[in-house]
């Protein structure tokens, strides 16, 4: 019999009510089964494909973590953003504006089946926010994007378009890059 524990965490800016759950519950199941947030995907179930990546807002800033192998025992008391929490919404919950990362993925036709997309959104958004704090030279952006998205797997092989979309967002956003040659969007 698995022990129970009471958890509460901040998901997309809202604190959840304390609830008793099995102590070996993974964050992904908590999101899907307890909060009905089904946008975060279950892929490999062992932290390798990153379809389940969500953003952890911690003391070191935004970081993508794999929700399928991260337990509520660690997530308890912490703050996360899922794919449902990125776009702007009106009072009724309808999406009114995508984030630049989401819009760029659409503009570049980055995905086909979309199963991996929530994970890519999390990884790319976490990268954009990291660069706000620690800009990199523009000519290093390709490498930085590759390193940040390299673990996310896409079986439709949309990699190049994901990478191009993320690179373009970074180069087009003031403050994310420092002097380093490459002109905007080139």
């Amino acid at each position: 019999m698995t022990a129970l524990m009471t958890v509460t965490m901040t998901i997309n800016g809202t604190e959840t009510n304390p609830i008793e759950v099995p102590e070996d519950l993974m964050l992904l199941e908590f999101l899907q089964e307890y909060l009905n947030l089904t946008g975060t995907r279950y892929g490999c179930g062992q932290g390798v494909c990153r379809a389940c990546a969500v953003i952890h807002d911690g003391p070191r800033g935004a970081r993508a973590v794999p929700a399928c192998i991260t337990g509520v025992a660690w997530a308890n008391g912490r703050a996360f953003r899922t794919v449902e929490g990125h776009a702007e919404r009106d009072d009724e919950g309808n999406v009114t504006a995508m984030t630049p990362v989401q819009q760029a993925f659409l503009d570049h036709f980055s995905f086909q089946c979309s199963f991996c997309t929530p994970g890519f959104v999390s990884a790319a958004q976490a990268l954009v926010e990291r660069l706000e704090a620690e800009p990199v030279p523009a000519d290093q952006v390709e490498d930085v994007v590759l390193a940040a998205l390299n673990e996310n797997i896409c079986r439709c092989t949309g990699y190049v378009r994901y990478l191009e979309a993320t690179r373009d967002v970074i180069l087009a956003t003031p403050g994310l890059t420092t002097e380093g040659g490459q002109a905007e969007g080139s």
Binding site: D24, Q46, V48, I69
Partner: protein, 414 residues
């Protein structure tokens, strides 16, 4: 006063004279047995056989462990070995005339392997395991020689060793040799070249202590960095613990003969997966040993091994280390399982894990902090990556997690 100075000067002179006499008279190489056959006059078929045998000697002796280049050429040199005295780099042992051993004769090869003396009376650092190789048979060295000389030369210069003074003074190694270098045995036997003539009970020690030079990492060293009598008793080397692999040590941590055979052949057993400098040993050496040789190694390592203990597990640790348990459930259990059962080819079980049972938590801490890269073990066997948790755990949390793990599934749980 002058008398005192004279006496002192006389003593210094005497010491120098003695040192010179000892150096030239007693620290050179010992006798070199005659070549096992005329290597110049080998027929094509004979040569091919000898090359194949030499390749096996090179694998059993794990030359590539230290002589691999940074870009993965097995014999081109460049692997660093960190010692307390400085860093030694494995040298180029391809038959390049300029940078490698192209100019060696088979006798030179014997002297380097057995006495640690390269052509030109250059003393090798004992990082070259000649104190282990000293019992290699002349036949095996001849086969190895023919194999190495049949490889493509790689024109890659050797890296200069970075040894601190006075260890950078090579002639001093002669005096270390005088004390710590064993003489080769009267009759080293036929070695692997002898095939079935090398009986199983001699084959094990030959593979473990001589060619495999296991003790170079697993045997504790003294202040002079020579191996002590605590044979295979386990020690920290290059920032990781090479565990105690004596029969007693192995059985205390629950190893059986089958587990050992599986671990050496495939890199994976119920006790865990090969990590740190043992993973290259699998890749370059032990996975190539045929069943008979694995069997010989296991018989020797597990000689008169006591009945192994069943894997410890103490649920009381959950209460006793609540923070550690919470961290385990939050960060580890997703792969290693709430009850430490693990997943095939994804994550090793915690129940029975050998690293949790070591006295020293060094390896456990490093694995949690640094993770383990995804690996191709042997055949179709692979292990997925373990992520690094250094950015997710404060030192205090790592300590709590480690105490919990060691008390739940380590020897503390018994």
């Amino acid at each position: 006063m002058r008398t005192v100075l004279r006496i002192l000067a006389g003593l210094v002179l005497l010491a120098v004279v003695i040192a010179v006499v000892v150096f030239f008279g007693f620290t050179g190489s010992g006798p070199v047995p005659p070549a096992s056959r005329d290597l110049e006059a080998l027929g094509e078929e004979e040569r091919a056989e000898l090359v194949a045998l030499g390749e096996y000697v090179a694998k059993a002796g794990d030359c590539a462990a230290c002589h691999e280049s940074e870009d993965g050429l097995a014999l081109a040199g460049g692997t660093p070995m960190e010692t307390p005295m400085g860093t030694v780099y494995g040298t180029n042992i391809t038959p390049s005339d300029t940078h490698g051993i192209g100019h060696y004769t088979a006798d030179d090869m014997y002297r380097a392997m057995v006495y640690g003396i390269a052509p030109g009376e250059r003393r090798l650092y004992p990082a070259m395991p000649y104190t282990s190789y000293h019992s290699v048979s002349r036949e095996d060295i001849d086969a190895l020689y023919v194999y190495l000389m049949a490889q493509d030369p790689v024109e890659k210069p050797n890296k200069a060793h970075e040894m601190a003074f006075p260890f950078n003074l090579r002639p001093l190694i002669a005096f270390w040799n005088l004390i710590y270098r064993p003489d080769p045995p009267e009759d080293p036997g036929p070695g692997l070249s002898g095939g079935d003539q090398l009986a199983q009970d001699r084959r094990g020690p030959y593979l473990v202590d001589v060619l495999g030079h296991c003790g170079e990492c697993h045997t504790p060293r003294n202040l002079a960095f020579a191996k002590t009598d605590d044979h295979l008793g386990g020690t920290v080397i290059e920032g990781a613990l090479a565990p105690d692999i004596t029969p007693q040590g192995l059985s205390t941590r629950g190893w059986t003969r089958e587990d050992l055979a599986q671990f050496l052949s495939t890199g994976l057993s119920p006790q865990g997966v090969m990590t740190f400098r043992m993973f290259p040993v699998l890749s370059h050496s032990t996975k190539y040993l045929p069943d008979r040789d694995i069997e010989a190694v296991v018989s020797y390592l597990a000689e008169e091994m006591p009945e192994p203990a069943s894997p410890p597990s103490d649920p009381a640790a959950i209460e006793a280390h609540s923070e550690g348990h919470r961290l385990y459930m939050g960060l580890c259990a997703g792969c290693h399982g709430g009850d430490g059962q693990g997943q095939p080819f994804g994550s090793v079980p915690m129940v029975g894990n050998t690293t949790l049972m070591l006295d020293n938590p060094l390896n456990l801490h490093r694995v949690i902090r640094e993770g383990i890269p995804a690996r191709h073990l042997s055949g179709h066997l692979r292990m997925q990556e373990m992520p690094a948790f250094d950015t997710m755990l404060e030192d205090r949390e790592l300590d709590a997690l480690s105490r919990y793990l060691r008390d739940r599934w380590g020897l503390g749980a018994m």
